[in-house]
Symmetry: C2
Subunit: 530 residues, 2 copies
Amino acid sequence: MAFQVFDTTLRDGAQREGISYSVVDKLAVARLLDEFGVGFIEGGWPGAMPKDTEFFRRARTDLTLRHAILVAFGATRKAGRAVAEDPQVRALLDAETPAVCLVAKSDLRHVERALRTSAAENLAMVRDSVAHFVAEGRRVFLDCEHFFDGFRHDPAYTASVVETALAAGAERVVMCDTNGGMLPSQITAAIGALTDRLGISPDRLGIHCQNDTGCAVANTVAAVEAGVEHFQCTANGYGERPGNADLFTVVGNLQLKLGLPVLPDGCLEQMVRVSHAITEIANIAPDTHQAYVGAAAFAHKAGLHASAIKVDPLLYNHVEPALVGNGMRILVTEMAGRASIELKSRELGLDLAGHPEALSRVSKRVKELEAGGWSFEAADASFELLVRSELPGEDVPRPFSLESYRVLVEHREDGSVVSEATVKIRVRGERVIATAEGNGPVNALDEALRVGLTKHYPELLTFGLADYKVRILEGSQGTGAVTRVLVETVGDRGRDWTTVGVHNNVVEASWHALVDALTYGVSRTAPAEV
Amino acid sequence: MAFQVFDTTLRDGAQREGISYSVVDKLAVARLLDEFGVGFIEGGWPGAMPKDTEFFRRARTDLTLRHAILVAFGATRKAGRAVAEDPQVRALLDAETPAVCLVAKSDLRHVERALRTSAAENLAMVRDSVAHFVAEGRRVFLDCEHFFDGFRHDPAYTASVVETALAAGAERVVMCDTNGGMLPSQITAAIGALTDRLGISPDRLGIHCQNDTGCAVANTVAAVEAGVEHFQCTANGYGERPGNADLFTVVGNLQLKLGLPVLPDGCLEQMVRVSHAITEIANIAPDTHQAYVGAAAFAHKAGLHASAIKVDPLLYNHVEPALVGNGMRILVTEMAGRASIELKSRELGLDLAGHPEALSRVSKRVKELEAGGWSFEAADASFELLVRSELPGEDVPRPFSLESYRVLVEHREDGSVVSEATVKIRVRGERVIATAEGNGPVNALDEALRVGLTKHYPELLTFGLADYKVRILEGSQGTGAVTRVLVETVGDRGRDWTTVGVHNNVVEASWHALVDALTYGVSRTAPAEV
């Protein structure tokens, strides 16, 4: 068995409403997926999406992958056009990936009514396109769009698309449940009927499921049980409508329930870390109830169970949580282990390994902060400031010290709502008072701080607030809620950094994140001040 | 076929972290489930949970069900105790429900290590308990906890529990995947092995699945395909850890994919409304990507699809969205139809049917507001104020008019963070200025308003802010986000009401909700003032 774990988080997964990755985001997600050990990363559609074209360009220099190979997605040639003259095909070659994944129509109704071409021309498009990329030395996967609907409607035609692609040299032909309407028993039956009809082994096929019946994971597992060895998933099941098959749940089920070795050794236990880091980059609230990786995936509440769990935890857990990097209790504090902190610091170029006492202090501090709702998974700049403040010889330059701030929100007689902030700070020995207005209280605070600082730190003008994300934690009990704020700042030459703040007052939480953002930015350019 | 749709939202579903229903909440959820047409509503565990005891007491007078019958949940008698002398059994009878669902151990390891009793005594507990409730005239369901793990470990023993319960008169014996570790193919195999072993028809069995492999829905469907006709689910899949099988997805799949008539006519299209109303009561952010009912369940983003959708929407939808009360576009505005507004008004004792022009104005206003992020599903008091403001002869008393307010958040020199609010209002012709402090900006605003109003409206002292919920909408793009605030107020004699406010400034959003809350409370006790 040679399983192909094919991830399409960055292509099909990006169709999820609300997701908008930058190129930097895409590179970061690709690195995480590689650490999880997937075999293929479909990075986007070069040519069709400028950001994706740029991603593949930067990937050539900025992305070193240990396990995965990069795949560019595209369509078969246009109807009535020679494959070598199709600019979309050209853009796909220009992405310079070792593999491509081509989408083709395989439901005759879609060929005729959506593509408006003939059954024969569609087959020719498949044949020409696959052969072209094979001749160019690429590994070729063919996604059969609407495979299952098509196979139900006109099995002969849909099977002929599969046959044509395989004959032209496609490595795998992928059966896509594009509309997501299938159930597992139907998947099993269709695969049996197709392989019987064509006389092929199911290992020539792949599977790609959408989750419109809530069965994307089960459908993918059913296909693998039927002999399919190539499966396409997305991290956390992100995707259009109800999403795609969740990579983590599928892999967990295949490895731990069916005993199939789909990942390289040592990768499975990265599951929780990788899943959560991707939620932060996507800025989608993590689903605490997600199978395997959710903070509540192994959390027990039922009084019925509590005493028995003491006797034998495995009587009440479907798998050992540590196998996927999860724990029986609150995830976030568990994750703040010494090893992961050391690892993360090393990534940032800081050597905590040589300073065990500083490492202990950082671990303790991170644990305390994470227990209070802080999260450093996506806030590298805040984390770096924290580590540097504990490392001998790594003084953090503080561009200013705060005396006080004041934010006003006023609903005036004329009905207008105005936000205004005043900060009183000390900058290089000078006391500065600055006031500014903003769209809202946080924007006003940011503006006031900049007004007060630019005389001494003109470089502040080169960077600005790019994004501002608010998450209410423990939202179900209003009174106990804390607010976590993430601030993303963009500096010159496109560098960006993210900082975090947590407080039960949204304004104070934002203040923490803003101060870290400016401190980090200034520390990159200015000398330290105490 | 006589399908039993058995809902356990109020019992097993309440195990989800963060859910804490009041008795009023439980009654409201039960009414909604009944409107959706489920056959059985498991309301809780009387005796074990005081709130559940109270729920069953109030249900006898306050709950009229059209489709469902109420089920009380409990355990078999304690080991070594006569069934008639077990107080937990007594409490279950006292709930006076037509049916009970008893949980029993069916995995020998749990019998011996968790329950610490013998294999034989456990069977006697099942036999005695089932027979006792049958003799008392109750329909009895038996939940076999850890059925699948037990059946894998020691098939003979687990099968003997099933056999004992059926022989004692249980109407259905329910196979529970308590730890949630099963896959559909394993469910199918286990049901076949059990029915073969006992020589029974699968229609004597029920299924109850947890979602730890992301397959709870698929497992439930697999059991029904294997001949099981009783299935236990929860609304939106709420439940411990990754949750239970989602009632809505399971029913959607059975009715629309397998053509099985599991609901009474006319109920399926209530799906979206019922699902969303329950999310509001549970105060769980609705999963916009939930199958069938999510706002994004039929939303299309892929450019690939857009043109083809115009040709034939059904080429790209796995089912017709209207069948489940959903639409292809944004759900929230679609729901603000005239009929549902008229219906909701009637519930509140307001006759919009006789005033078609007022109904048009209200419909238009609700559509506009919902498009801007407002939601009236859980904010009946705000909705009632809105309807009354449009109905002839239904003047809404406005206890005050606003001149202006000002909220300050100050981070002082000593590091303390202080919130203070001042309101300037007109109350019964008098101009009032009032200032108060609070834990945060909104609490300060609420306090200041009360200080300013209590002279003229001393009844304000009898009600107070009970809960405060904030939700950031469209949270993925920080700048475009709006904030929705729900305020729950409790008056004297335990009456409570909920109001809503939306604005891009959280303070202004809260203000709207606070003003509605006070206006509604005062309008219940004081004469109108213009």
